[in-house]
């Protein structure tokens, strides 16, 4: 309803229009963090809108509860408008800027990264080792195919790059939203993120699949997130075993790294599969349809990471191990490379937005 600013994107202009309506209504203030945060403003700058967009968990409750949603002439659809701003913000804060385009055609980008990584490992094994070694029996000893130090060098470098790129992006975001935090705010944000407090529609549940509130998305997201964390823990424990204790892989099935990996792997199979199936049932008006590929790409990468990991574990004593190892390492490398340029970033931005929200109370 305010004047149009020609320098603003259509997504920001629409989000500004909606926040102005919502701020005069405020009926949704009990649903999540977005609306109380909105109420601290009378006008909305670009940083404010990027902050609100990243606070939104896309639960959909404010759409089904809204008396102004379409076909009402006010045409209020906050989940859709904020998802567009949010996805734009990933692009906007991408580091280096040259990679911003990765978000626009994310499915293609990640497919290329993953398949390229897999191909590189297969080619590397074939080129550097005797093909007979690739298809030989090694009793689960991966290091016969690739020395431990080589693995660490490759994955360590990529991981450090991913952390650097994410840090640079998050710094830009934090500056833009006028970020502020404290120890207590970090603790509360960690709680909110860990519990997915705001994927609950304020208590009614997530209304994304249909008007009936449901906890399904929250459950599958928990499986995904904690599955990821268990896998991360598995790798961390294995690193300690290797360097601190001198215990080298392969580890037995009952060892801590393998058990953690199994638990995490189950989560990473069930969680992404569930989220993918729910996304198919989701009301298309709620989402940023052109960029749904980003969600699918990330879910697929997580699912494939777990799937190839299990295949490797089950068949590590067979002649398929070499090929499976190349595929698994390729998928994981693809995942790592894509972390700063895919859906993974949503957790980071949202976490920072939650820190600011909790700081401002």
């Amino acid at each position: 309803m305010r004047g149009i600013d020609p320098t603003r994107s259509a997504a920001l202009t629409e989000a500004d229009r909606l926040m102005t309506i919502c701020n005069a209504c405020r009926y949704c203030e009990g649903l999540c963090a977005v609306f109380p945060a909105m109420e601290k403003h009378r006008t909305f700058g670009e940083g404010d809108l990027n902050y609100l967009a990243n606070l939104c968990h896309q639960c959909g409750a404010c759409y089904s509860d809204c008396q102004y949603s379409p076909p009402h002439e006010f045409n209020v659809n906050v989940p859709s408008a904020l998802s567009k701003v949010r996805n734009d913000s990933y692009e906007q804060y991408a580091w280096p800027r040259a990679f911003a385009g990765a978000f626009a055609r994310n499915g293609l980008f990640i497919t290329l990264l993953a398949s390229g990584s897999v191909a590189a490992f297969i080619a590397g094994f074939v080129a550097l080792r005797d093909p007979a070694v690739l298809f030989g029996h090694h009793a689960g000893d991966f290091y016969k195919l690739m020395p431990h130090n080589a693995m660490v060098a490759i994955f360590g470098t990529v991981f450090i790059y991913a952390i650097l790129a994410l840090t640079m992006s998050l710094r830009a975001f934090w500056r833009d939203i006028n970020g502020a935090g404290s120890g207590a705010a970090v603790a509360e944000a960690t709680h909110d993120a860990g519990h997915l407090t705001y994927l609950g529609g304020g208590g009614g549940g997530c209304t994304s699949e249909n008007e009936k509130p449901s906890a399904q998305r929250r459950i599958f997201h928990h499986l995904t997130f904690y599955g990821f964390m268990f896998c991360f823990a598995s790798t961390s424990v294995a690193t300690v075993y290797h360097y601190a204790l001198g215990w080298h892989a392969p580890y037995p099935l009952t060892s801590l790294p393998v058990l953690l990996g199994i638990i995490g792997g189950v989560g990473l199979l069930a969680g992404p599969a569930g989220l993918f199936l729910l996304a198919q049932k989701r009301d298309p008006v709620l989402v940023d349809r052109p960029r749904l590929g980003m969600d699918v790409a990330f879910l697929t990468m997580l699912f494939l990471t777990a799937l190839t990991g299990f295949a490797l574990m089950l068949l590590r004593d067979s002649s398929a191990m070499g090929l499976l190892l190349a595929i698994h390492l390729g998928v994981v490398l693809g995942l790592f490379l894509s972390l700063p340029y895919g859906k993974f970033v949503h957790g980071m931005y949202r976490y920072l937005a939650l820190v600011k929200f909790n700081k401002e109370g």
Binding site: M1, R2, R26, Y27, G30, G202, E211
Partner: protein, 464 residues
């Protein structure tokens, strides 16, 4: 769906009262049909624009500060209605209001604590999570899970009623007239606030300039039929609840987001650039409800709230931008008012402002002296550019005319006899309890209490 069968309970309307009646009757095992005149999106009449209900409670209700004692509730009701209430029904409303939160919870309705901008109603009112539409969605889900047949776009066009005995309702459905028969009838389909022609009977041409806050479907068709069939009326037919809202609001269904509470922070002028009422007379909530009527009495039913930059951030933000200018004369021109007249009004006002300590949360000592129309509180000079203005029109929330009911929510006929099988709930009978004035959340309370009573009564009657 088969609407050809004979239902135990036929409910006209699809808001809070209708759903409370339908759910209650269905829970008692009755076959219920809900005839909602609006399309599915617009279902629920005024309920879709509500956000809370008022209830007596002992202080243990979650999400509420308390307690809110029944006697205090009754006092509040007496105060706003000036005693225009049926005492027995008022007491019944209040006595049964304390059951509403647990009952609603059981139907799947969630409540939330009042947060920012909720006007210090935390003690008296329970807030629906996500507002009235969220609450309606829960009630519809519950009704449908209990087997209630809900028909949309089903405006009642005729009632077959003989001597206070309901036989059937005719609806216009899918382009054809259809007769829906039932053993009992619950009228829960609101007032006539969206029926401009009806409003014109009392307000003349001024009604054309009214903005209706709810959907265009609140036309009062069933109310008129019932009165024509000899049901006893209640409430002043000429009266409606009107607030001041932004003149740029849509003609219908703008709801809460178009209201403006800027009036007290500046001055109000009419089309001729003249002030017409003491802007500092009353504190919220009363002032909220008087300005609609005051503007309705002005030429062309329009008023302009004029402020300066000291005050522009002191009220809830509006969805429409303020009109802004560097001088009062320029502001008047932008409003298409006579700049000379407005400049003189502002100058006279500024000259009359007395020194004081401004505090908009109390009746402060900032006032004017020597004006024919004083501003008795919150009077500050309008002297700090830029200057701002909002055009305001009357926004009609609901009408007071209804049908008389007894403690069972059963309709009373003009001759004083009870209707055999007809009940009423919600806005269509709210005038029994709220003869005039307004108390935040009371409409939802009356709707839910009498909706449940009507459901109980209809369920009992349909069995006999």
């Amino acid at each position: 769906m088969n609407i050809n069968e004979i239902f135990d309970v036929v409910v006209a309307g699809g808001g809070n009262a209708a759903l409370c009646a339908a759910i209650t009757a269905a829970r008692a095992g009755r076959k219920v049909v809900v005839l909602e005149g609006a399309p599915q999106f617009y279902r629920g009449g005024n309920t879709r624009h509500t956000r809370n209900l008022r209830c007596a409670h002992d202080g243990t209700a979650s999400n509420m500060a308390g307690p809110y004692d029944p006697a205090e509730f009754l006092d509040d009701l007496y105060r706003v209605t000036g005693g225009e209430t049926d005492k027995a029904l008022a007491q019944l409303t209040i006595a049964r209001s304390h059951e509403l939160i647990p009952w609603m919870n059981k139907q799947g309705v969630f409540f939330q604590p009042p947060l920012g901008g909720t006007l210090s109603l935390g003690k008296t009112n329970a807030f629906f999570l996500g507002g009235g539409r969220g609450m309606l969605n829960a009630l519809y889900r519950q009704a449908e899970s209990l087997g209630v047949v809900c028909v949309y776009d089903a405006m009642v066009t005729a009632l077959n009623v003989e001597n206070g005995f309901f036989v059937s309702a005719t609806i216009k459905f899918d382009g054809a007239e259809k007769e829906v028969r039932g053993r009992t009838f619950v009228a829960a389909c609101g007032g006539f606030e969206a029926n401009i022609e009806w409003l014109r009977e009392y307000w003349g041409d001024a009604a054309d300039n009214f903005i209706i806050r709810g959907t265009p479907y609140n036309r009062g068709a069933v109310l008129r039929m019932l009165l024509d069939k000899g049901v006893m009326p209640v409430g002043d037919p000429t009266q409606c609840h009107a607030i001041a809202l932004d003149a740029r609001a849509p003609k219908f269904d703008g709801g809460i987001a178009t209201r403006l509470d800027s009036v007290v922070f500046g001055i109000m002028v009419n089309r001729d650039g003249q002030r017409f009422y003491d802007e500092g007379e009353e504190i919220w909530p009363k002032r909220y409800a008087i300005w609609g009527r005051l503007i309705a009495q002005q030429p062309d039913q329009i008023g302009y709230s004029i402020l300066d930059s000291k005050s522009i951030h002191m009220f809830m933000p509006s969805i429409y931008p303020a009109i802004v200018a560097g001088t009062i004369g320029e502001l008047a021109s932008k409003l298409e008012l006579d700049p000379v007249a407005v400049e003189k009004t502002v100058a006279d006002f500024n000259a009359a402002v007395q020194p004081g300590t401004f505090d908009h949360t109390v009746l402060d000592d900032c006032r004017t002296e020597g004006l024919a129309i004083p501003k008795s509180h919150w009077a500050r000079k309008i002297d700090t550019p830029p200057y701002y203005a909002y055009p305001l029109r009357p926004g009609i929330t609901f009408t007071y005319l209804g049908v008389r009911v007894n403690e069972e929510s059963r309709m009373i006929l003009a001759d004083g006899k009870l209707a055999a099988n007809m009940f009423a709930a919600g806005e269509i009978m709210a005038g029994n309890v709220l003869g005039k004035g307004y108390l935040a959340g009371i409409g939802m309370t009356i709707g839910a209490v009498f909706g449940r009573l009507a459901g109980e009564g209809a369920a009992k009657h349909a069995r006999n």
